[in-house]
Amino acid sequence: GGGGWSVSALAESCVGQAVLPGDLLLLPAGEDSEQLRLGGGAAVRGRLLCGPGLRRCPAGLLVTKCGLLRHRAAGSAGGAYWVDSQQRRYVPVKGDHVIGIVTAKAGDVFRVDVGGSEQAALSYLAFEGATKRNRPNVQVGDLIYGQFLVANKDMEPEMVCIDSSGRSSGMGIIGQDGFLFKVSLGLIRKLLAPKCEIIQELSQLYPFELVLGMNGRIWVKAKTVQQTLIIVNILEACEYMTPEQRKQALAKLSGN
């Protein structure tokens, strides 16, 4: 055990390269987050955001996960650094939209399995149009698409199926049939990127309904069981296929 030999480098020079836990990223002097100067003429130094995979330490940023270092230079908000890492296990984060499975009904609260270390709590009033008299029809084993209202390391996660204005905006109980499967979190982020090629190509193959949960769960429903399973297999294989292999596979399928 004991201390380690680690790499210290300027943060800007490491952007786009692989970093390992224990690497120390030095920030240029003067960009400390405490120094916010208000007022018209003076240049406003924004706060530097420390994203997933990084921790603040006195000397700079300490890398805690292995992956590629990314940087986004937003105009007035300073910059943000984070590490693009790959993992299979989900850790609840506030605001994430996830697919959960109802495991128990305990009085006024449903227990939902979201794939994390604890089960999330979902109140029966957290659905659109739900009142004490008009309860939602949720059974054990149903699939729920909702977002986290409370999710931190100290408290039990809480889910809701309405947004801040009280509308459901696509959340709620996911209908019957369809197929639920699990993929890695990196693939979900790739699929959720705007103008994702995979989804565009698949939609030209068959029409289907798709729900993506940030906890690695995907729900698919197409017209027939066979079409559903084909889409499931392609999405699972997308993780390791190059774009050319994917186009070949889809061309073979649409030819059939």
Binding site: G1, G2, G3, G4, S6, L20, P21, G22, G53, R55, L62, T64, K65, C66, S85, Q86, Q87, R88, R89, V91, G116, S117, E118, K153, D154
Partner: protein, 157 residues
Amino acid sequence: EAEGCCLRPFSCEQGLLSRPDGSAAFVQGDTSVLAGLYGPAEVRGSRELPDRAALEVLLRPKVGLPGVGDRSREQLLRQTCDAVLLGGLHPRTGITLVLQVLSDAGSAPQLLSCCLNAACLGLLDAGLPLCSLFCGVSCALGPQGGIILDPTSRQEQ
């Protein structure tokens, strides 16, 4: 001694198991160990720690049941992993590390260093937050007092 300062070729593979959240296989000479990591997951009430993750290490030898030597290796691995893991980010959860010895050259230090390397790679593959990395290298004192790194079984004798 020049020939004592180089390691034998070693290889590793990550993400080879589909069930665990992280997995790694490390092969060094004739010794190879497969590590599987589960976590942060639910933990039984008695093992739950209020401020950090509870780490459990299980080492399975190639044949037979785990003995005293395996238990002491499990302790050492647990202390090493506890030192680098940022357990405070996942309180009241459990992290389980299962190591399976696939082939054993019969040398205890080599097995321990192989287990340490497999554990570190498994932690990386699972994406758990670490404050640094660790590794294991076995070494022996030569007859003239020099240090030989990664000795073969013959050299050990």
